[in-house]
């Protein structure tokens, strides 16, 4: 579980996060949604330790991150997996080398053991016969799956995803969503996903945090989002005509 208390972050005179309070639950897919510029990416980067918050606390497993020693921070980073928006795969490495990289850098596993683990995770994300290919030689959806494989290869306790569906067709996006949800449940990990995709919200949104202008404006599950009267949330979620029709149908019990 991750608890965030009064998190604030500014860049020069621009206050991006203005006191965010929330919790992300273990074994669930936690979604952060919000308009562009609402502070989602900054929030995620604060959770990852890439940005140092100005004030407030982040608790990992009941322990405040800001009070961690350097060794504890390093230990925590080995328990984190991250799926970046663009994949962030290393161009000069093959798919196998990319997935093996965290094992090579952070563990004392032997080559054969690492290879077995890589095969296992590539199989889990349904990637076959791609081991020797370079990221530029595979499709966007496959790159995302390699990125997920790299993120979970070290059996993390926390999985973070920054817009994992961006640039993907709806079918591939649904495959990625389901894959992330299955991995979260199988491994009982805390998954935090930053997304704009309303399909993801309605498909896998077990705990949704809506950010607006750097503050949490609403929190609930995908079932609550149909019923909420919070205008900020409804204006954002039902901005598309399709989802407006879905909402009306839900309210009318169709």
């Amino acid at each position: 579980m991750i608890k965030v208390r009064d998190l604030r972050k500014s860049f020069d005179d621009l206050e991006v996060l203005k006191g965010v309070n929330t919790e992300f639950e273990k074994g669930k897919t936690n979604l952060i949604i919000g308009q562009s510029g609402s502070g989602k990416t900054v929030f995620l980067k604060c959770l990852l330790g890439l940005f140092i918050p100005d004030s407030g606390t982040i608790e990992y497993n009941e322990k405040v991150y800001q009070n961690f020693s350097k060794d504890e921070k390093r230990e925590l980073s080995t328990q984190m997996g991250m799926v970046f928006q663009g994949g962030a795969l290393f161009d000069s490495m093959t798919v196998e080398e990319n997935v093996m990289f965290p094992l090579k850098m952070l563990t004392k596993m032997g080559r054969a053991e690492m290879k077995n683990r890589v095969e296992e995770v590539l199989d889990r994300v349904n990637l076959v016969n791609t081991n020797t290919k370079f990221p530029s030689e595979i499709s966007g959806g496959m790159q995302k799956r390699v990125s997920i494989a790299r993120a979970i290869v070290n059996k993390p306790r926390y999985l973070f995803c920054d817009e994992p569906n961006s640039g993907l067709d709806p079918r591939t996006a649904a495959v990625i969503d389901n894959l992330i949800q299955e991995i979260t449940r199988e491994n009982d990990i805390t998954t935090v996903i930053n997304t704009h995709d309303m399909n993801s919200v309605f498909e896998i949104g077990e705990n949704i945090v809506y950010l607006e202008n750097g503050v949490k404006a609403w929190q609930g599950s995908k079932d609550n989002i149909y019923k909420t009267d919070n205008k900020q949330v409804t204006d954002f979620v039902y901005a598309s005509n399709l989802f407006q029709k879905v909402r009306i149908a839900q309210k009318e019990g169709l």
């Binding site: 890439l50 921070k73 991250m82 952070l106």
Partner: protein, 247 residues
């Protein structure tokens, strides 16, 4: 504006400090260093040899054409070529060329990694990205004085060919001039200079790539800025070291 420069200078030295902290796993580091030696040193040898040969040749021709007085010994062509090549051309001119070739490669490769979030990916994994990316480049560039030695040798060969086969002097005169008033300290000075330039060549472009912000257009801009600043710093340091060691 001045405060920005001061901030950048401070950031540069912090980067150097961070580069030597939290070392990457030695087996991976060894692989990275060998890779960088190949990318930065071995792949530069062709252009260095080509330029050195022809610049050496031009130095010999220019010197020969500017000595019209019959009382000036012909051997002076060999002497002037040696002095020009060892003292300035090989260490400084080749370093400026390398700022264009190696510097822009370093800035654009690290900058692209920044833009595509690969550096963030390293940091999230708990890896010191500066050590992983910059340290192997610094170690690889320690081989730079060998490139300079090759440049000196080839430059003098170029001068010999142009001088002797161009009919300006004979081989004995050239070799006599080459050995005239030779001061070994000047070779030490040249290698010391090239060693310092190597550090600048590895770190200044890395700084511009690592701290860049934006997209692919900014990567190109950072590579150009990096070349300008690396050249400026090399030229300034050249003056400083020369003043310190030779005057």
């Amino acid at each position: 504006m001045i405060s920005n420069y001061i901030k950048s200078i401070g950031q540069y030295f912090i980067m150097i400090y961070e580069t030597f902290k939290r070392m990457t796993k030695s087996s991976e580091l060894r692989r990275l260093i060998l890779q960088e030696i190949d990318d930065l040193i071995i792949s530069s040898l062709g252009i260095v040899v080509f330029i050195s040969f022809f610049i050496g040749a031009v130095i010999a021709i220019q010197t020969a054409l500017n000595f019209s007085n019959p009382f000036v010994p012909k051997s002076l062509i060999g002497f002037a070529a040696r002095q020009s090549i060892i003292l300035e051309f090989a260490p400084t001119f080749v370093s400026i060329i390398m700022a264009g070739k190696v510097g822009s490669y370093i800035t654009s490769s690290i900058g692209t990694m920044r833009v595509s979030e690969q550096i963030d990916a390293l940091e999230v994994m708990g890896i010191n990205s500066l050590n992983y990316l910059v340290f192997p480049k610094i170690i690889a560039m320690c081989m730079f004085p060998f490139v300079i030695a090759i440049s000196m040798f080839v430059g003098i060969i170029g001068a010999y060919f142009a001088g002797v086969y161009g009919g300006f002097l004979n081989a004995d005169q050239f070799l006599a001039g080459l050995q005239e008033d030779f001061i070994p300290f000047q070779v030490f000075y040249a290698f010391l200079k090239s060693f310092i330039f190597a550090f600048i060549l590895a770190t200044v472009p890395s700084f511009h790539g690592y701290y860049m912000r934006g997209g692919s257009l900014e990567v190109g801009h950072a590579a150009t800025t990096s070349f300008v600043w690396t050249s400026v710093i090399i030229i300034f340091m050249n003056y400083f070291i020369t003043q310190l060691l030779l005057s």
